[in-house]
């Protein structure tokens, strides 16, 4: 077991180093941050000197090594755009993104599972067929369109919910939360809804497929023969056996939700990590981009490793397979 964990950790480190290397190769092609930082009046001599001071004239390998050595000591430098410590900047934004992703995941489960069960047991009914059809739209609509439509309906026409921002937040240690204030909760609703829409349809379709499978199995038929009430069969016995793949998929998808929240965050001016990253890209803020990519890679690697280890714990065959 220990050997397995060490192996997985070594793998994880290799992946992160590779991501950082790729990132630096891309930055090389992306352009010249000094041109973005300098104002109109800065002379050529000052520009050249700044480029030299930032170490941008060094080779990719030198810059990469410097980044890795500093990052290993927890130092990601300060942002080119606003002169703030990068790690602090990302830590400030992390709670916003995580709360958004958490609520979106919750919505996708609370809405997706019942709908999945419903469309499975009422197969062929007009409403379950139309739900199936609507879910195709849900999967195919780009999230910025969903966001704009939600804003139009709930903020402009109805005036119920704010169109942007995070509302009032409460600071608990380094964590800032919007869950404890009415305006914070109101502000969270629209972005979470727009982020969850794709997940809802995914969960619904997954549950439906699994459910149809399970309903054909012998123990369900037997339960029916015994005269157990239908809702009890569906929700107590059948649903339980459908949830394993749903849980696995949800856990794995949290990583992608964090990474892809950036579109939702841009539309709603949600002050999370995605918004930070988008702005860093337009400004060529290399320290922020590099740190963000590494942290996202780290989250993915962490989730994957945790899932792998969990599998290994559950299924001893996997431990010796390699």
């Amino acid at each position: 077991m220990l050997v397995f964990i060490i192996k997985r950790t070594a793998n994880a480190i290799m992946v992160m180093l590779a991501v950082a290397m790729l990132a630096f190769l891309i930055f090389r092609l992306a352009g010249d941050p000094v041109e973005m930082m300098a104002n109109e009046q800065m002379t050529q001599a000052d520009r050249d000197e700044l480029r030299e001071r930032l170490g941008l004239n060094d080779g990719v390998l030198t810059q990469y090594t410097r980044f890795v050595v500093n990052a290993a000591q927890g130092n990601f430098g300060i942002s080119y755009r606003n002169g703030q410590d990068v790690l602090k900047l990302i830590a400030e934004r992390f709670p916003a993104t995580l709360e958004l992703v958490f609520l979106a995941t919750l919505i996708s489960l609370l809405v997706g599972i019942p709908l999945g069960v419903l469309t499975a047991i009422k197969r062929g009914q007009w409403y379950s067929e139309s739900l199936q059809f609507v879910s195709i739209i849900g999967v195919s609509l780009p999230s910025f369109v969903v966001g704009i439509v939600l804003i139009l309906v709930f903020s402009v026409v109805l005036g119920w919910l704010p169109a942007f921002g995070r509302g009032e937040v409460v600071q608990i240690g380094w964590w800032s939360t919007g869950l404890l204030t009415p305006s914070g909760r109101a502000a969270l609703l629209l972005p979470a809804l727009s982020l969850s829409l794709y997940q809802v349809t995914l969960v619904m379709r997954l549950v439906r497929a699994e459910m149809l499978e399970v309903l054909r199995s012998d123990y369900v038929k037997f339960a029916r023969a015994r005269g157990i009430p239908r809702w009890r069969i569906y929700f107590r016995h059948a649903l339980r056996n459908c949830l394993m793949p749903v849980v696995t998929m949800t856990a794995m998808n949290i990583g992608s939700l964090i990474a892809f929240a950036l579109i939702t965050e841009t539309v709603f001016q949600w002050p999370g990590m995605g918004l930070l990253f988008i702005q860093a890209v337009t400004f060529l803020d290399i320290p922020v981009m590099a740190a963000y990519l590494c942290i996202i890679a780290f989250i993915f690697v962490l989730l994957n490793t945790a899932v792998d280890i969990a599998y290994a714990v559950i299924d001893p065959r996997l431990r010796t397979a390699q």
Binding site: I78, S79, G83, T181, T282
Partner: protein, 523 residues
């Protein structure tokens, strides 16, 4: 535990809600298209950040609503010699923390801004040293006769010397050194508003400074500055009344916003002139002979563009067609020069034929995130040039990606805008863009041209202390720019501010900077 925190927070919020409820009549919610970069006015000298920080910090002099220089922290000034200026400081001014404003503050600020690693150093060229004469008099010495010191000083905000020392911030924040600065997060200015709180990318709150030295023309108690990057969301926030003011109304939404009964839109053109520049090296990037060095090819280029079509169709009738490279508000501008080239595609073809450049292929480098409607503009230019006998190819991408192509001389023809910020004088474009490239000039001379006659006019202007004579020299240089088509001007860009009708007075100058100390809200 968590519950207790929640209860405490709810009570605190309830209280603050009650407090702001009283003052809500004079709260201004300002929705901007982007956030400021830093609270430190000596960070990267971004014009937008500086204009926001002007609510908190002030310079020795400032621009009024008509962009004329007027006294601010300096009550008066005179020239002691060709190179030395004497400033008499305003007495009785205090910083937001209560410290008194004196000559030492000016010295400390000038020292900080002129530091070798100061990113804002370029905004104060020709600065040599400063000297305290007495507590309220300062002498500033320049490296030579330099006529534009006052223009430069409008953007050099003054810090409190004691505050800088106490917080270990006497030197500017250096990104290269990778250490944060105190002034990035905190402020202590003399301006009409003081900082209450700031959460980057969310909200920056300013409160009125009751002890401001100047008589307040505004009646705002509180400014909530919220950046909303997405244009559609910003419009939605205006429609739902979540923000009262924005200086960035998206062009396509102006009709819709104007139609709202509770909103009004103010439109005008600003100082930024959009123009085209040509590569002027002996060969193009692809190795072929550069025919843009032939004046006839540049003339053909100018005659191929239809200014009327650009103004009416591409810019929706909102831009101002330009015949010279500076806007009318910029000193050095001359009406005689401001006539666009005649639209005549036949003439273009003839000129190209004569120059042996028929069907001349080249690449036009454009950006996607810098100017108003630039994608449509560049597409339109390409179409018009094709009709005029050129074979243009469009290369369009975000500024970050295009910058190296332009500075590296890899762009055959490129689009650029220049507002003459922060100097507000045609000397700015002449020295930074038109003059031959050197360590201290021609940074934006991306085409690499050199006109000794123009250079010598700019050099004479740089030390000419007589304003009339200096502007004559600059106008003469602009005339040569036009004759030689060094740059081909297209138009001044439109700008649109949108606001709640409760705002009954606001200063909208051509520099597109917001000055809320001149904003009045009806009660």
């Amino acid at each position: 535990m968590l519950k207790q925190i929640g209860v405490a927070a709810t009570i605190a919020l309830g209280l603050s809600g009650a407090l702001t409820g009283v003052a809500s009549a004079e709260t201004l919610k300002w929705g901007a298209a982007r956030d400021i970069y830093s609270l430190d006015p000596y960070s990267y000298g971004d014009s937008y950040t500086l204009s926001f920080l002007n609510h908190v910090y002030e310079g020795l002099v400032r621009y009024d609503a008509d962009l004329q220089i007027e006294p601010a922290l300096a009550a008066s000034w005179e020239q002691v010699s060709d190179t030395v200026w004497r400033f008499h400081l305003r007495e009785g001014v205090t910083f937001h923390d209560g410290a008194e404003f004196t000559a030492d503050d000016v010295l400390a600020s000038l020292k900080r801004v002129s530091d070798p690693v100061s990113p804002l150093r370029g905004n104060l060229p020709a600065y040599k040293s400063s000297k305290k004469v007495d507590d309220y008099t300062v002498d500033i010495e320049m490296t030579g006769p330099y006529p534009l010191l006052l223009n430069d000083l409008t953007n050099i905000h003054i810090f409190d010397a004691g505050w800088l020392v106490d917080n270990d911030s006497e030197k500017p924040t250096d990104v290269g050194a990778q250490i944060e600065g105190y002034a990035t997060y905190h402020t202590n200015g003399t301006g009409p508003f003081r900082l209450e709180s700031r959460v980057p990318d969310s909200k920056t709150v300013l409160l009125v400074n009751e002890n401001w030295w100047d008589e307040a023309a505004h009646n705002i108690d509180r400014i909530e500055f919220v950046p909303i990057t997405s244009a559609a969301t910003r419009v939605a926030a205006l429609l739902s009344g979540e923000i009262d003011f924005s200086e960035e109304a998206p062009a396509q939404d102006v009709p819709r916003l104007s139609a709202q009964p509770e909103l009004k839109v103010m439109e005008r053109t600003n100082l930024r002139t959009v123009m085209l520049g040509f590569n002027r090296k002996p060969t193009l990037d692809n190795g072929s002979e550069n025919k843009f060095n032939d004046l006839r090819v540049r003339q053909a280029f100018a005659h191929a563009l239809d200014p009327k079509l650009i103004q009416q169709r591409i810019m929706r009738g909102k831009s101002r067609t330009a015949g010279t490279i500076v806007a009318p508000d910029i000193p050095g501008y001359s009406t005689e020069l401001d006539t666009p080239y005649l639209y005549d595609p036949e003439q273009s073809r003839r000129l190209l034929q004569e120059a042996g450049a028929a069907d001349y292929p080249f690449t036009l480098v454009c950006t996607t995130d810098a100017y108003v409607n630039e994608e449509e503009l560049c597409q339109g230019i390409v179409n018009m040039l094709s009709r005029g006998g050129f074979k243009p190819q469009l290369d369009i991408a975000p500024t970050a990606a295009q910058a190296p192509k332009r500075t590296g001389g890899k762009a055959d023809v490129y689009l650029i805008g220049w507002a003459n910020e922060p100097m507000l004088d045609s000397y700015s474009i002449l020295v930074q863009m038109i003059k031959s490239r050197s360590d201290t000039a021609g940074v934006f001379n991306w085409g690499g041209w050199s006109y000794p006659e123009i250079d010598s006019l700019i050099e004479q202007a740089s030390t000419e202390m007589d304003r009339e004579k200096r502007l004559d020299l600059q106008t003469r240089a602009l005339e040569l720019v036009k004759e030689e088509i060094v740059m081909l001007p297209l138009h001044q860009q439109p700008m649109a501010w949108v606001m709640d009708k409760k705002i009954d007075k606001i200063a909208q100058a051509a520099d597109n900077k917001v000055r809320h100390w001149l904003t009045h809200v009806s009660e």
